[in-house]
C-alpha cells in the first residue's frame, strides 16, 4: 500500500507525505530544514500518522555525497546535512519509488518495509489503520493511483494452456508464417465476393495488443509521445483517454483511438477525425461508476490547450455521461459520432466489468457499437478513491467469458469486436484473454512498467519520480519520448515473439484460430461453477 493523499475540502491538506513536497522536487543541497528533520509543518496531531511505511537504509561509509538521491527525490524524503556531511531521510515521506536506489552510483541505498508495523492483526491490517487515521485527519476520501492491489485470486493464474503432442504437430514460428493480424470493428454476418454487401470500417492491428486509454495530464507529454511512436512502429494503437489530443500528436492520427468521456475534454470534429477509431468511455475498471478528477495544479498551459479548459482549473468528469442515462441515449451518442465522422471510424464503447456485463455488452452492441472494451477491476487509474479501486468491479476474465458467450448465443458476436483490459501482465495473459473470447487486449500498467514505473501508486500526486505520470517541467525530462518508444516497442516485440511461440505450440498459425477457442484452456484449482462461468474445462479432462 503506497502513500495516499486525501481529497479534502480543507485546503490545508495535512498529510505529511505531500505537504512537505509542496515546494519542489529539487531541495537545495544545503536545505536549512535539517533542524526540523524535514518536518516543517509538524502539527500537534501529526503523530497520528507519522509511522513510516518504508525505511531508507543508507550505508554511509559507501556514500560518496554526490547527492544524486537528494536531487532525484520528488517526495522530499532525502536531504543533506552539510554540518555533519551526511545524507538523511525523512522515512515517512518515502513511497518506495526506488528512484534513489536506481540512481545511486555506489548502490549504498536500500529501501525496506518499515518493520515496526502495528501489532499483528488478521482483521485490522496496517493499511487499514493508516487509512483510518488519514481520514480522521482530513475528513476526505483516500486517493490513490494504479490498479486494485488487494490479493483477490487471479483467474489468469488458474488457467493453463494446451500444447500439441504427436497427434498434431506444433508449428515453429521461426520457420513458418505465424499471423497475429487482427481487424477490430463490426463485420457483416456473411460476405460473398462479388455481391454488393455492407462494408464497415475496421482498424487493423498487427499485434492484438493496444495501449489503453491514458490521458495527457494523467501521463506526461513525453510518455504519450512514446506511446504514439511505439504504436505507429508496431502497427497498433494508443488511446488519448479523456484528455484530448495535443496538436503535436495529430500527426499520429492513424495510430490513435480518441476518447469521448463524460467531461468531453478536447472533443471537437477535428479531434474525432484525427483518429483511427473513436471511443465512448462509460466506465473504467479501476473506478466503475465514478468520474475522473485532474487536479487544477496539474493543468498547465499545454494541458489547458489540449483539454480546452482554463489553466489551473480542476478537470472534473461527471460520473455518468450527462447525455446518456439509458441504453437508447448511448445509441444516440454512438450515431452522433458516426455521423460526425461520416461512418469512416469504428466506434468503441468502454465499460467497467461489473456483475451483469454480458447483458450490458449485448445492449451496447445492439446500440451500434463496433468495438466493446471490457475493463476489469485490476485496471489502473491516474487517480481514484482507494475504497472504490479496491472493492468495486469484477475480474475481466469472467466478464469477458460471459460477454463473448452471450453475444454468440444471441448470434451477434460478429457485430462487434471485444477488447479485454484491466491487469494484463504478460503475453500469457494476452493469449488466455484471446482464447476466452477477446479480439485484442489493452495494456497500460504493463506499458508503464516497461518505461520505469515501480508501482509506487503515487500517480495521482503528479510527482512521478520516473517522469511517467507528471508534467512538472523538472521531472518531465526523466522519460524522453524516444526512450519510452524504444522500450515500449521492445515490450511489444517480446510479446509478439512469445504469442507466436504459444500459438505454434498449440498447433495454430494465426491468431483468429485462438480467438474464443476455449478448448485450448484448462482450469487449475477452480470450482465447477468457476469453470462453467469461464466456459473452460478442468485440467486433465
Amino acid at each position: 500500500m503506497g502513500n495516499t493523499t486525501t481529497l479534502s475540502d480543507n485546503p490545508r491538506v495535512s498529510n505529511p507525505a505531500n505537504t512537505n513536497g509542496s515546494k519542489s522536487g529539487l531541495p537545495p543541497a544545503t536545505s536549512p530544514k535539517s533542524d526540523l528533520m524535514g518536518l516543517q509543518s509538524l502539527r500537534p496531531d501529526d503523530h497520528f500518522h507519522s509511522y513510516p511505511e518504508y525505511f531508507v537504509e543508507r550505508r554511509h561509509e559507501e556514500c560518496i555525497r554526490c547527492l544524486v538521491c537528494v536531487r532525484q527525490c520528488p517526495y522530499d524524503c532525502t536531504y543533506y546535512d552539510p554540518d555533519r556531511d551526511v545524507v538523511y531521510n525523512v522515512h515517512q515521506n518515502c513511497v518506495n519509488c526506488k528512484r534513489c536506489v536506481a540512481m545511486c552510483p555506489t548502490h549504498c541505498i536500500r529501501i525496506e518495509r518499515f518493520d515496526s508495523g502495528f501489532r499483528d492483526n488478521g482483521h485490522w491490517g496496517t493499511h487499514l489503520v493508516r487509512g483510518l487515521r488519514k481520514q480522521a485527519d482530513t475528513g476526505g476520501v483516500l486517493l490513490t493511483g494504479l490498479g486494485n492491489d488487494l490479493p483477490y485470486p487471479s483467474y489468469f493464474d488458474r488457467i493453463v494452456l494446451d500444447a500439441s503432442q504427436v497427434t498434431n504437430p506444433s508449428i515453429d514460428p521461426l520457420r513458418e508464417p505465424m499471423e497475429l493480424r487482427t481487424y477490430l470493428g463490426r463485420k457483416p454476418e456473411s460476405y460473398r465476393p462479388g455481391s454488393p454487401g455492407e462494408v464497415f470500417p475496421n482498424i487493423l492491428c498487427e499485434i492484438p495488443v493496444l495501449f489503453a486509454p491514458m490521458s495527457f495530464g494523467a501521463i506526461s507529454y513525453n510518455f504519450q509521445h512514446g506511446l504514439a511512436l511505439a504504436a505507429q512502429e508496431m502497427g497498433t494503437y494508443f488511446n488519448t483517454g479523456e484528455g484530448g489530443l495535443h496538436p503535436d500528436f495529430r500527426k499520429f492520427r492513424d495510430s490513435v483511438i480518441v476518447q469521448v468521456a463524460s467531461g468531453r475534454f478536447g472533443v471537437d470534429p477535428d479531434y474525432l477525425l484525427s483518429s483511427a477509431a473513436c471511443e465512448i468511455k462509460i466506465g473504467q475498471g479501476a473506478k466503475p461508476g465514478i468520474g475522473g478528477h485532474l487536479p487544477g495544479e496539474k493543468v498547465n498551459a499545454e494541458i489547458s490547450r489540449t483539454r480546452m479548459i482554463p489553466v489551473g482549473t480542476d478537470a472534473l468528469s461527471p460520473a455518468p455521461q450527462h447525455d446518456i442515462y439509458s441504453i437508447e441515449d448511448l445509441r444516440l451518442l454512438i450515431y452522433a459520432i458516426k455521423e460526425a465522422t461520416e461512418y469512416t471510424r469504428p466506434v468503441s464503447v468502454k465499460i467497467a466489468a461489473v456483475h451483469n456485463t454480458a447483458a450490458i455488452v449485448s445492449g451496447i452492441v445492439r446500440a451500434g457499437a463496433d468495438i466493446v472494451v471490457i475493463d476489469g477491476f485490476r485496471g489502473g487509474t491516474g487517480a481514484a478513491p482507494m475504497i472504490i479501486r479496491d472493492h468495486v468491479g469484477i475480474p475481466v476474465e469472467v466478464a469477458l467469458a460471459q460477454a463473448d458467450q452471450r453475444l454468440r448465443e444471441e448470434g451477434i458476436r460478429h457485430q462487434a469486436s471485444i477488447i479485454a483490459a484491466g491487469g494484463i501482465r504478460n503475453s500469457a495473459d494476452v493469449v488466455k484473454a484471446i482464447a476466452l473470447g477477446a479480439d485484442a487486449v489493452y495494456i497500460a500498467t504493463s506499458a508503464m512498467i516497461a518505461v520505469g514505473c515501480t508501482l509506487c501508486q503515487q500517480c495521482h500526486r503528479g510527482l512521478c519520480a520516473w517522469g511517467i505520470t507528471t508534467n512538472r517541467p523538472d521531472l518531465l525530462p526523466r522519460l524522453p519520448a524516444d526512450q519510452a518508444a524504444g522500450r515500449l516497442t521492445g515490450l511489444l516485440r517480446g510479446w509478439q515473439h512469445e504469442i507466436q511461440e504459444m500459438l505454434g505450440l498449440m498447433g495454430l498459425n494465426s491468431i483468429e484460430s485462438l480467438r474464443g477457442n476455449r478448448l485450448k484452456l484448462r482450469g487449475v484449482g477452480l470450482t465447477q461453477l468457476e469453470l462453467q462461468t469461464l466456459g473452460i474445462r478442468q485440467a486433465g479432462l
Partner: protein, 440 residues
C-alpha cells in the same frame, strides 16, 4: 436461419455430461445376433417380436463417445469421381482403402457413396444408427411428425463373427415438401430435424441425410466394413473411403468417418486445432457439434458457407484454408479487398492445424489441405475419373492406367466436379483458373 435446437446454455452445455454418458453405459444391449438382417421389422422393434424385458441394462453406446473430450485421430483417405456419372460398385473403393491398411488401426472406417438410390433420387435418404432397435421407435415417431416417411428399412448387413457386436442401422426415405412448417428452405428444415435427433435422442445418430446418397461407417478396418455393409452391391458415381487411426474412443461407431449433413460428406485426416472456435462459430448458426470430433464441424462449415451464404466452392476453401496475409498484401486492390474481407468476416471459420479432407457432395469432390500442408494429399487422373488420396499407391492400385498424378499446393483446393456441373480446379496453385481436366 434455423433456430438453435436444444439448449443454448453457457460454457459446459457443449459437452455431454459425464452423468449422461455413465447412464448410457449402464444398460445392456441385446445380442447382435438376435437382430434380423432382413428388411422386415426385427425382434425388439415395433412390429417385430418383442423383447418384453422392459428397461434392460445397456452395455455400451455405439453412437456417443464414451469420453467427454475431443476425439483425435489420424487417417487414410481416398475418393474418386466418375465425371461422366458412370456408376460403379463399391468394390474398387474397398480395394483402394485396403491398400492403405496401415494408415488405420482397425478402430474406424467408412464410406460415402453418391448415386446409390436412383429409384428414390428425389427423396432424402436418412441413414440412422441406433444403439439398439428399441431406440428407433421414439425417433420414428418424431420423424413422422416432421417429414413424410415414404419408406423405412433396415440397412442390409453381412453378419459375421468379426462384427458380432454392432449398432442397429436403418434408412428412411423421406419427403419434406408437405411439412415445411413455415420454413421456406428444405435444407434448413432438414438440418433442424437432423440436429434435433442428434442432440435430443441420446441413442440415435443420423449418419447422412442427402438425396440419392448415403454413408456407411463403423468400428473395424474399412475393407471389412465395406463387406459388412455389402457395398459391392451398391452402385455410385462418387465414392469416398476412410481408414481411421483414433487415439481413443474404441467401439464408438458414431465417431467414424464420413461425417455428413444433407449431401455433404467429409472424410478427414488430421486434427483441427481451431475446433474450439469453429464449433462455437457454427453453433451461432444453429449447428450443434454433438460428436466431439473436429471433422463434423467441416461439414457444417461447408453447409453454412456454400448452401446458406452462397459462397463459391473456391471462396469457401479460401475461408477454410485462408491465404497468408503476406500473400494477400501483394495482390491487386480488388482481390486483396476480397480476400481481406473473406478472412476477417470468416475468421472464426478458418481451419487451423494439420488436415487433408475430401468433401463429397452430389456434384463432385473437393479436396483441401491445410495452408502449410501438414497432411498428405495427392490427385490422379485416369480417363473420366479423378482420384484423390492420401497415398499415390492407393490410386495406382485401382487405376493402374492413371495418366497423371500430382500433389496439390498447400491450401489450394482441388475441385473435381461432374462434367455436367462445372469446371474443375487442379489445386496446383498460382494458375488459379487452370481447369483440372483440360481435354479429358
Amino acid at each position: 436461419m434455423p433456430t438453435c435446437p436444444g439448449t443454448c446454455g453457457t460454457g459446459f452445455s457443449q459437452f455431454p455430461s459425464r452423468e449422461k454418458i455413465m447412464n448410457s453405459g449402464s444398460r445392456t444391449f441385446p445380442h447382435a445376433s438376435m437382430i434380423n438382417t432382413s428388411l422386415s421389422a426385427p425382434r425388439g422393434y415395433p412390429g417385430g417380436e418383442s423383447q418384453g424385458e422392459g428397461e434392460v441394462p445397456r452395455r455400451k453406446s455405439f453412437v456417443r463417445s464414451p469420453y467427454d473430450e475431443k476425439d483425435l485421430s489420424a487417417c487414410g483417405l481416398i475418393g474418386f469421381v466418375n465425371r461422366d456419372r458412370r456408376r460403379e460398385s463399391g468394390e474398387r473403393i474397398i480395394r483402394a482403402i485396403a491398400n492403405m491398411h496401415d494408415r488405420g488401426n482397425g478402430l474406424g472406417g467408412g464410406f460415402a457413396a453418391y448415386g446409390i438410390y436412383p429409384e428414390r433420387a428425389d427423396l432424402y435418404a436418412l441413414h440412422v444408427m441406433y444403439d439398439d432397435p428399441h431406440d428407433a421407435k421414439q425417433v420414428e415417431e418424431y420423424l413422422k411428425r416432421q417429414v413424410v416417411v415414404e419408406a423405412a428399412e433396415e440397412i442390409p448387413l453381412f453378419e459375421s463373427r468379426r462384427f458380432s457386436d454392432h449398432p442397429y442401422f436403418k434408412r428412411y426415405f423421406v419427403d419434406l415438401r408437405e411439412r415445411l412448417n413455415g420454413h421456406d428452405n428444405e435444407g434448413d428444415y432438414l438440418v433442424d430435424t437432423v440436429m434435433h435427433i442428434n442432440v435430443n435422442f441420446e441413442h440415435a445418430f443420423v449418419m447422412s441425410s442427402g438425396k440419392n446418397m448415403g454413408t456407411f461407417k463403423g468400428v473395424g478396418f474399412p475393407e471389412d466394413l465395406g463387406e459388412f455393409f455389402r457395398l459391392p452391391e451398391y452402385e455410385g458415381y462418387i465414392w469416398t473411403g476412410h481408414s481411421r487411426f483414433p487415439t481413443n474412443s474404441p467401439g464408438w461407431w458414431g465417431g467414424a468417418h464420413p461425417f455428413a449433413l444433407l449431401d455433404w460428406t467429409i472424410v478427414h485426416n488430421g486434427e483441427i486445432s481451431s475446433y474450439g472456435i469453429n464449433m462455437r462459430y457454427v453453433k451461432m448458426f444453429g449447428y450443434e457439434c454433438t460428436l466431439m470430433t473436429d471433422t463434423e464441424v467441416v461439414a457444417y462449415l461447408f453447409d453454412l458457407l456454400v448452401r446458406r451464404h452462397g459462397l463459391s466452392f473456391e471462396d469457401a476453401c479460401k475461408v477454410l484454408a485462408p491465404p497468408f496475409w503476406k500473400d494477400i498484401d501483394v495482390l491487386e486492390e480488388e482481390e486483396r479487398f476480397t480476400l481481406t474481407h473473406l478472412r476477417s468476416v470468416y475468421a472464426s471459420a478458418a481451419l487451423n492445424g494439420p488436415f487433408a479432407f475430401l468433401l463429397g457432395f452430389s456434384g463432385g469432390i473437393i479436396g483441401l489441405n491445410d495452408r502449410v500442408k501438414l497432411r498428405p494429399l495427392v490427385v490422379g487422373r485416369g480417363g473420366e475419373s479423378v482420384y484423390l488420396s492420401s497415398e499415390e499407391a492407393a490410386i495406382r492400385t485401382i487405376c493402374p492406367e492413371v495418366e497423371e498424378i500430382w500433389a496439390p499446393v498447400a491450401g489450394e483446393p482441388v475441385i473435381v466436379l461432374l462434367e455436367s456441373v462445372g469446371e474443375s480446379r487442379d489445386g496446383r496453385g498460382n494458375q488459379r483458373q487452370r481447369p483440372v481436366l483440360q481435354g479429358a
